[in-house]
């Protein structure tokens, strides 16, 4: 269980977030949507403790985030960012192994190596393990990082939940891998993991999210099941666009088109 309560955050006089309260449950894939500059990425940064000067509270398993030790929490919580700035020659294997860093002190155990292998295999990157990371394409790099964060929270901890936070993770991916990423994310979420993803594509949210948080100007506009949050009214309020719902008889979820 991840509880965010009365979060307010401002840079100078600019209010970025205004009294945001929301809770995320394990087993469900939650998505945060909203226009550029609405505060959704900031909210994720507060949840992931990258920003730590704010009003309000963030609790993991009922314990305040500020009371948690960085290393302890990194064993059960992984964060996937939009892009990584890695610009040194490292092998794909070495990058994925970084995901296991919180779990060992000096040398990786056989278990750690095995997990990395499995994570790479899951991302269809098994043949890439010896490759130089810098020679990969943008999409391949992102798949390596997905394998890295997967290996970080590979094992289910006893009596604890896992946490998986994603900040616009699919921007650099092609259509096939966008869906592959979200399918795997949903799988991870189902295994008792609190999963929160910031995402831009509303149709992908309709297809994959179990719950959607709509944010605008730092305030929560709506929160709930995708079909209740993503409505023509709400989208007009937030994006100023006239949208239409399309029900395709062949699919189980609605689609949105902009008029």
């Amino acid at each position: 269980m991840l509880e965010v309560k009365d979060i307010s955050y401002s840079i100078g006089k600019q209010k970025i977030l205004n009294n945001v309260s929301v809770s995320f449950e394990p087993g469900k894939l939650a998505m945060i949507i909203g226009p550029n500059g609405s505060g959704k990425s900031t909210l994720l940064k507060i949840i992931s403790n990258e920003i730590n000067k704010y009003y309000g509270s963030v609790r993991y398993d009922k314990i305040l985030l500020t009371k948690k030790d960085k290393r302890t929490i990194s064993k059960v919580r992984a964060v996937l960012s939009q892009e990584s700035e890695l610009s040194f020659p490292l092998s794909v294997e070495e990058v994925v192994m970084m995901g296991r860093y919180p779990h060992f002190d000096f040398k990786p155990a056989a278990k750690d190596m095995d997990i990395c292998k499995q994570a790479l295999k899951r991302m269809n990157m098994a043949d890439f393990s010896e490759r130089n990371y810098l020679t990969l394409s943008g999409g391949e790099k992102q798949r390596v990082h997905f394998a890295r964060v997967m290996s970080q929270i590979w094992e289910q901890p006893k009596d604890k939940y896992r946490y998986f936070l994603l900040d616009e993770p699919i921007a650099s991916l092609d259509l096939n891998y966008q869906h592959e990423f979200l399918r795997i994310t949903k799988e991870i979420a189902k295994q008792n993991t609190v999963t929160v993803a910031v995402i831009h594509d509303i149709n992908l949210a309709l297809q994959y999210a179990d719950s959607v948080l709509l944010i605008n100007n730092g305030s929560v506009i709506a929160n709930g099941p995708p079909s209740e949050v993503i409505t023509a009214d709400n989208l007009f309020k937030v994006y100023g666009l006239k949208c239409r719902v399309i029900k395709d008889p062949g699919s189980s979820f609605p689609h949105f088109v902009v008029e």
């Binding site: 992931s48 403790n49 990258e50 960085k70 290393r71 302890t72 929490i73 990194s74 064993k75 919580r77 992984a78 964060v79 960012s81 990584s84 700035e85 890695l86 610009s87 040194f88 020659p89 490292l90 092998s91 070495e94 990058v95 970084m98 995901g99 860093y101 919180p102 000096f106 130089n132 810098l134 970080q152």
Partner: protein, 356 residues
């Protein structure tokens, strides 16, 4: 067989063998050459044995009090500067950083010059022990201040932009150099000469005292930074990513900067400013086998020691019987290599610069 396919342990072994070969060559080479037989006999004598055969007193003295400390000092300074280069490159997440570029060396040189000029009269009343410690201490203090200034001034919002960092480094180096220049201006002739030699770097003053001091500081520091190789690897992903992997990046940065400054300052206080070794060695290793910081630190220590010995040999023989300051040799060879690295980098990362 490709060198990059070799295992880490094989590479370490290879480097160690090369190091022993260069060390014995370096001991033999010079205005007066020493044979292996003379080396063995002198060594055995020093260990309290009574070997067969005779050595000229001059040869023995030359070996025990001039060549051996000099080669040992080369080893440790080369290792220290290269490890420091690897640390700085990891910390700034940029492969073109070295202690000379970011104020560490020039700060240390200023600290040393200060003691040369005003120190003698100021600390004359203190004991000789303090007298030997005061130089490294002053070098450390000023190089730490200079490095921190460069780091703080070039980072904004947790990001260090490399162009800004290099420019700030130029400015801080200029300030330190002008202060050193002022000191040599007001200095009497012998003091000014020692400042000049300082800035060019030389191993000719090597003695057992300086060897002991530098080893006592550098060896533990290198072992200590090895503990942070994993955290430094994670830092390559960026500061926030390293934080998600459970690393306290602020603490890590402070520790690395302190250890690094310690290594560079003590080395610089013993032999003066020697540029470019710290830049090139980690880069060579990265080309051989990637950027794992554990490998970079161990490898830099070994290869740095080899390269420093070779450079010192060159400085001893190139205008024999006179001697060229080693800083001239390393800069003369190092600067073109640095340019080559920059050009090569441009090819790989054509779009925009680095961020750290």
């Amino acid at each position: 067989m490709k060198i990059s396919r070799l295992k880490y342990s094989t590479l370490y072994l290879l480097f160690s063998i090369l190091l022993v070969i260069t060390m014995s060559l370096a001991i033999r080479t010079g205005a007066v050459s020493i044979t292996y037989r003379e080396i063995f006999i002198s060594l055995a004598k020093a260990m309290g044995l009574h070997p067969e055969g005779q050595v000229e007193r001059i040869q023995e003295g030359l070996f025990m009090y001039i060549r051996l400390p000099r080669v040992l000092l080369c080893v440790i300074i080369g290792a220290g500067l290269s490890v420091s280069g690897a640390l700085m490159q990891g910390l700034f997440r940029n492969p073109i950083v070295e202690p000379g570029l970011i104020g560490t060396s020039s700060g240390a040189a200023f600290g040393a010059a200060l003691i040369f000029v005003v120190g003698k009269s100021f600390f004359a009343q203190y004991s000789t022990l303090l007298g030997t410690m005061i130089l490294p201490l002053s070098a450390f203090t000023f190089s730490f201040i200079a490095t921190m200034l460069v780091y703080k001034l070039s980072s904004s919002f947790g990001k260090v932009t490399v162009t800004v960092m290099i420019l700030v480094g130029v400015a801080i180096n200029a300030i330190a150099a002008s202060c050193t220049g002022f000191l040599s201006y007001i200095a009497r002739d012998p003091q000014a000469r020692s400042i000049t030699f300082w800035n060019l770097g030389t191993f000719s003053g090597a003695n057992w005292n300086s060897v002991c001091l530098v080893y006592v500081v550098t060896i533990p520091s290198i072992f200590f930074v090895l503990r942070y190789s994993k955290a430094l690897n994670a830092l390559l992903l960026g500061e926030s990513e390293a934080g998600y992997l459970g690393i306290d990046t602020e603490k890590l940065k402070t520790k690395i900067i302190i250890l690094n400054t310690l290594i560079v300052a003590v080395g610089t206080s013993a032999v003066g400013v020697i540029g470019f070794v710290g830049l090139i060695v980690p880069h060579l290793l990265r080309m051989i086998k990637g950027s794992d910081n554990r490998f970079l630190i161990i490898g830099s220590a070994l290869v740095g020691a080899i390269i420093m010995n070779v450079a010192d040999m060159v400085s001893r023989v190139i205008i024999a019987p006179a001697e060229l300051p080693i800083g001239i040799v390393t800069s003369f060879v190092g600067a073109p290599v640095f340019i080559w690295i920059l050009r090569r980098q441009k090819g790989i990362h054509g779009k925009g610069g680095y961020y750290a």
